[in-house]
Amino acid sequence: MAMRVVALAGNPNVGKTTIFNALTGMRQHVGNWPGVTVEKKEGVFEYNGERFLVVDLPGTYSLTAHSIDELVARNFLLNGKPDVVVNIVDATSILRNLFLTMEIFEMGIKNVVIALNKMDLAEKKGIKIDVKKMGEIMGVPVVPMSAKEGIGLRELKDIIHRVSHGEISPAPIAPRYDPEVEREISHISNILSETELSKRYPLRWLAIKLLQRDDEVMKLVLRYLGEEKLREIMTHIGEAEERYGRAMDLILASQKYEFIDNLMHKFIRYMKSEGPSLTDQLDRLLIHPLYGFMTLALVFYVIFKFVFALGLPLQKILGDAFSSFGTWLAPHISSEVLKGLIVDGIISGVGTVLSFFPLVFLLFLSLSILEDVGYMARVAVLMEKLMRKFGLPGKAIIPLILGLGCNVPAVMATRSLDDEKDRLVAMFINPFIPCSARLSVISFITAAFFTSNHALVAVSIYLIAIVVALLSAKFVSSFLVKVEESPFVIELPEYLIPSWKTVLLHSWERSKEFVKKAGTVILVGSLVIWYLSNYPVPMGEGKSYAERIGMFFEPYMRLMGLDWKAAVSLLFGIIAKENVISTYGILYGSEGALVGVMSTLQAYVLAIVTTLYIPCIATIAAIRMESNWKWAALVTFYMITIASMIGIIIWHVGTALGY
């Protein structure tokens, strides 16, 4: 005897997979739906000595065929002729879920069972559902369930069995529309009734789909009705839309939504007042235009405090370890050139950069926690509100947040902006957002020069970078590219307790970049700098290549209170920002030597200029790839100008104030 087929249909995240697994256990088969790359899961369960084939349909919110998932689910329900359709409904979100239920009912499918899942959660939220009444009103059996706890599973199997054997005959309620829409449905149904379609499909459903201008149904009707008749129907629909002033699919969906809203109040009660939840209350503070920014500054201050407090001792241990390793290794290398290359070049350069790994890891750990908790999403909303005031398109916030990790994918992510002008502005300001590489430079400088207030200095540099980004956005959107705001909406996630496994995994994945770069770009950079500082003669008499290059730029650097070594460092920082650290490591030999020759004001200027002065070469290439050479050159020139101006101002104001 052929197995009876049970289709599982429902919205995404309603517990469909949990129910599928609970029903079928290990007896599952995973493949693809014919002709598409949508996963098809089938499994078997036994009940009362009978076997049932369960087909897990893709999770969808409706059956409008706008996505491949919807089309797959709809085609199976229409043509797969399942014996029973189990519609899984999330009891905590009935209104949205019943929209799909009504679409299934409209297809003329009778053998439907509603599996009302997450009943335990609904109860906790104070949602009281009269299941019996719901069944009566909906016209189909309703099985209350908490699939995660295994509650209701046996009852569901029993109802499936009984429905499939005709012991229960469901009579699903059909959504009704206003009289004018109903007249249109009748009119189209009458035309279609003259064709063979009436034998294969429910005419009311076909009429509704035609009113919604459903491509698939239009093709189907064309085959049976011919072009002229179809055109006549579509013209008629067009006239109805003119009268309503809106598309029919929106009118139908809207009326269906109201129909469900009225219906559900007959069997659902909200025991707790629908006052603001904890998430809503927290959001009122965290995305408030004033308190939100104060909280943001405080959060980042605490993060830096944590990163420096825990990271600096570890950095010192690593730094000392590299230094000791160099000291130990030096006598073992007989060749002076090789000794210089390995000890002064590789160990001093790469080692100095690598010693900052604990700080980078801790910062990524902090950001991952904020991301997992849901706070970064609030930062996105907060910044978006601010960005709009400065002429930036709101949607640009996503690439900007990405920029905190790395500016290259951030520039590429501007592709999500449809408007070319929006993209140009977003690309223009993206390199101002301090990436993780610049964080290591900021950490290096603050750790070396600022003994007690690292966190405050780091936060101030980030703040300056953000302010400069916003002012630049204002400048570019006022004078270079006029941006028109396009509507969009941001949906915030619930706050969650972070999963430590996920947080640690993300932090490690992100920090790995730092180590990999140290072994590649920074290693090569260190070797080049070592060569330049030792040839044709060692540094000290102004004749090495590094000194000659640095001296060329020194007059300009002096305007910011910096010397030729800063010029060389910044020059190599264009390849990768971490090279600023390795260059200083090689040119000065040790952190102590560096601290001895630079004042805190000079260090602060260097940190600011490094953060703002130029995109790294990979970011410049990404901007060129996503726009053109001219725009990449303009961004580079603009950043050099702005960084120089700010450097000069801070140096002169600081000097005048006696720092």
Binding site: Y61, S62, T64, H66, S67, E70, S93, L95, R96, G245, R246, A247, D249, L250, A253, S254, Q255, Y257, E258, D261, D280, D283, E371, G374, M376, A377, V379, V381, E384, K395, I398, P399, I401, L402, G405, C406, V408, P409, A410, M412, A413, R415, S416, S486, P487, F488, V489, I490, E491, L492, P493, H506, E509, R510, K512, E513, K516, A618, A621, A622
Partner: protein, 89 residues
Amino acid sequence: MGTLEDVLQCILEGKRDPEEISRELGMSVQKVKDAIQILKSLGYIEEVEKGSGTCSTCPLRKVCGGSCLLPKAKAYQLTKKSFSLKDHS
């Protein structure tokens, strides 16, 4: 107009987050979020690609392991279908 049309109208007018829309329409935030999902399935709004797509084509992917910093917020933008609605009104 019904809930779906009201929510869509609010987005067209520039309201940015479900809470703002819920205040404007006097309905729960959950109801607004539900409406957004339905509007998405109807093709009136679409989710903004957050960068996971660009990540796979990023030249630095081999170095960074493709673990970009992405906020968990979902952003939705209006589709051409919605703008035709705006033009109509």
